[in-house]
Symmetry: D2
Subunit: 135 residues, 4 copies
């Protein structure tokens, strides 16, 4: 899987001259979107099928500030996979230095009911398991 | 009509320590939402009736920077009202100093077709005309 | 202490029609700024004295979606207070329903060196301890 | 000059499922940053030399909505160049369809005084004039 990269824009930096901490949550989403696309099953395809994927929780540990024009590499892996939930882990680096470590938990809903990923999207489920075995 | 007020948050300020210029376009939307609410016809009520109101154009002239904790007062008035379009004018002030002067043009769409405001929302139309006469 | 309230704007909602999850991290900051202001020691006063307060980590558990015009009440309390770090807990509610539970950890830096809150800002430290005793 | 491209993220789309109109002002900044970088004189280099470049005004005409994953190509050219101000014109396209046409006016400040671009940055001035002649 290709590592996602986010180039920091001017408007993402705050008064302290560094990326505002809330933006890392957005970079995580970008990396997740890219990762699912690489598996051939993007958010847009899910939404077209009537399945949405709300965020259950997020956590971020900020290790080092980043700033304008920094290229943040975001490595994403699946930490846990259960019937109804998936937990992603993220390691963000700038020039090999870890700047942020994060996790996010997601579920899948269809008509407001929880969706079992293995049954609803068996091909995607299988591919996700494969990425976990490779690690 | 009551003047809308936006208190500048930390995350709205950029590396130069001032409100990022893109945010004024958001403050304009906040003032517009508030203004329509005061007329008794909010965006949410329109959307519930199947009418959306896309932005046709915006323009902003930045007169003076604003920063964290500034209270920006946003005076809104209707500059033009035609069959399919409405033009709002905005004057934003901090402690009586003008900080930004702006305009925005909007239309109304129902099932992707232009909506004539006077026919579709006659009560709202009448109220808007009243605000123009008072000025 | 007065509970901080954030009224959800149109631009804070995403394609799913609910507040984008990254925005809660911004609401937490707004509540924190307000809370420190209520204690008489705002971010701006600290920054003017040369002390910045980076975010060490954040975590959010999303309990219920919120949307345009919702009034989110954000109760903030200090969970832990150590020599160099402070942990805030947040409970966000809309019409008495909990929508998000969160925490954030912060340190204080002066000339890039950790600041012991009790020594650098004894009055603020005492006031924070008081809020913890009242709880 | 290479045309700048912005891929629309999920969080840039609003309740109507399209890019929120305020975001185009941010995309303009991204294109401007990239364009100055291509001329070898980025915002960061200017800021390092103590020159900031505030936005004097912006205007956007929204021609067609864009949405999640759209690749927006942003062509930038210099519309006017005077002693103290520069006006950029932007044409944004998705799959050859024009989605937004915009302009922005900028000045340059050093110690809060207007800077004459031709005198302060003669090399950059010359390169900008060259791009205008090529057009």
């Amino acid at each position: 899987m290709k590592v996602y990269q986010h180039i920091v824009t001017y408007y993402e930096c705050d008064k302290m001259g560094v990326v505002h901490h809330s933006n890392y949550v957005r970079f995580m989403e970008e990396a997740r979107v890219d990762w699912l696309d690489q598996l051939g099953y993007g958010f847009d395809r899910m939404e077209a099928e009537g399945v949405v994927s709300p965020v259950v929780s997020v956590s971020c540990q900020y290790k080092h500030p980043t700033t304008f024009k920094d290229a943040i590499s975001i490595e994403l892996h699946v930490e846990h996979l259960s019937t109804f939930k998936i937990t992603f882990g993220y390691t963000m680096k700038v020039r090999e230095q870890v700047v942020c470590v994060a996790t996010s938990v997601h579920c899948f809903l269809e008509n407001n009911h929880p969706v079992a990923l293995e049954q609803r999207f068996p091909e995607l489920y299988r591919k996700i398991v494969e990425t976990m075995e490779k690690k």
